[in-house]
Symmetry: C2
Subunit: 393 residues, 2 copies
Amino acid sequence: MRWRLPEHIEDILPAEATRIEVLRRRLLDLFASFGYLLVMPPMLEYLESLLTGTGHDLDLRTFKLVDQLSGRMMGVRADITPQVARIDAHLLNRQGVTRLCYAGSVLHTRPEGVSATREPLQIGAEVYGHAGIESDQEIQRLLCRALAVAGVRGARIDMGHVDVFRSIVQAGRVRAGLEADLFEALQKKDLPSLRTSVRGLGKSTREALLLLPELYGGREVLELARRRLPAIPALRRALVALRALADACSLPTSFDLAELRGYHYHNGVVFDAYCEGAGGSGSALIARGGRYDAAGRAFGRPRPATGFSIYLRALTGVAPVAAAREAILAPCLTGSRSRDAKLAARVESLRRAGETVIEDLPGHARHHGELGCTRKLVKRRGIWVVQPFGRGK
Amino acid sequence: MRWRLPEHIEDILPAEATRIEVLRRRLLDLFASFGYLLVMPPMLEYLESLLTGTGHDLDLRTFKLVDQLSGRMMGVRADITPQVARIDAHLLNRQGVTRLCYAGSVLHTRPEGVSATREPLQIGAEVYGHAGIESDQEIQRLLCRALAVAGVRGARIDMGHVDVFRSIVQAGRVRAGLEADLFEALQKKDLPSLRTSVRGLGKSTREALLLLPELYGGREVLELARRRLPAIPALRRALVALRALADACSLPTSFDLAELRGYHYHNGVVFDAYCEGAGGSGSALIARGGRYDAAGRAFGRPRPATGFSIYLRALTGVAPVAAAREAILAPCLTGSRSRDAKLAARVESLRRAGETVIEDLPGHARHHGELGCTRKLVKRRGIWVVQPFGRGK
């Protein structure tokens, strides 16, 4: 079948497309009301600007193309965040705080999971130029508002901070090769490997690293960490930041101090938003974010940065959107018989009032059922009125 | 410079992005009010489904990629219309009339002109399943309404019909090789070649073909064509269709009976919408459309089809969009000192009322000018009020 689509690539049909459009607008309007300016970076860039300062994972996920105009390699964006950092660093060139938002498709060479799409729709917001916790808090409040205006119920936020692990290995003077082993063991929650790797380390570092996988749960985790992890200043600051972030968050929050996502990319708080899928399909990741102050460095202008990206199709899967009002069927406006200025004016005013009015094209009366109209425009004593189907002529 | 973009690829910065977003919404809302259902086809498809039934031009404009999951060739869409025809033919599978609309990016390997982008934004509407002139007229009225709601002034429509040339060469039994020569000569308006090519043809065919390049102008062209072109039934029907199309069009119309755009693709009326560019930059093509009943045939289900595509970035260049209201600066909501439930409630209600309220992050007072705020929230006798910058505290 010539029209079959590649695996993990989908057409979005009217019911879902309309829900996506409704949520897209609500979120962009919310971001605008907070002062976030919309930008639209291109789908294509030279590979070196697209991948500069990003990780190996993104490289593997990026489709590569030859530019026929320059002979150079280009990539199709697999993430919008680095593009927005480039725009902040070089195009807008502000000295102070810059708030930007975006919405668009990205393409992945391979899906991120068995049921993942290779064309996620990303919609997100970023604050550049502010290093304090207040901008992380603003981003957190904005994410909570975004999930609220989307109508999502039962969302929760998982928080972590990359300085927890980093400060422990730095204080323990762990050499780079061993750090990579510890990183891998923690990321895989592989406790036997973790126990093996910590053997040669000092007591305080060893105990701290072995404790990390247990530091998962509610606010009590922060208190436990404060009491039982070593009093390293950067670690203390990370715990204070996590508490402040949770204060700004109006959704149920949990902490995972062994969370290492974006370790090579982020340098502060990191968070994921989850929501229970419809029909017990398990928990869906709907947004992801954090602080990544290195963002602009690759472009020659390091700027503090914090933000989030919502996966719009995943969000649409868990957010209820009210169905639109059903349509009204009108006689054909351009047929020679039904040419009627009053009819045209009535149709126009109904449409302006937010109604959908479908014109009946000649020869299709037996397919009316497909159009989804529940009402029709009929002439009663010279006046065009809307009435339900099945009543009178 | 690592962050330079490829030629004919651009970032869209906030001012233009906001205008595009405003126009995108107005047009999609208009299409919805006429009963057009939104679909979102993917950026990527297998090459054979993407290019089936389309011309060599589209093939050359399409970026090709290898699918790592199947090893097959994929293409990045260079046009959305064939994708929407595929959706009508196979996914929706309606017997009657189907109205679909879409909005999205396409990518081109090479720009279509010296100032063209390689990432046009297409927004369009299509009617499937209706072969009569009434659906062409509906599409024409919808295009005129679209340009009106976009606020475009001075737009005009150029109309043609591929059956004019086709019926003359068919009636004259012109062999295929010569037809191709005539086609090329007419398309290039190359009169010497045209005169050479028509030499061996019968008088009526020869005279008709030599007349075509002169049949350009207002409604008088249709009358002239009726009198002076041979009375071939298909040609007469084409002239009647053009008159009916012009009747449905509320914009200034001109006719070009030598217009051959989409000769191998279209099979009925074709039209282009132009608008004078800002600052005398010449005439910009802002939309293009017509009837192409072969659309679904490539997918095994031929369905009549008629529609148009608007070039949203070209439209944004000629459509005035009112600037948004300027923003209000509010004290930081999450700083420890200014934590104030009344302030938070006031900010929330201003945002709900459509205002942009930017929170002042600590340490950035000297960059306030960059934020574009003309008003600020200040506390007066315990109440938060909005006042212009530069008054009082």
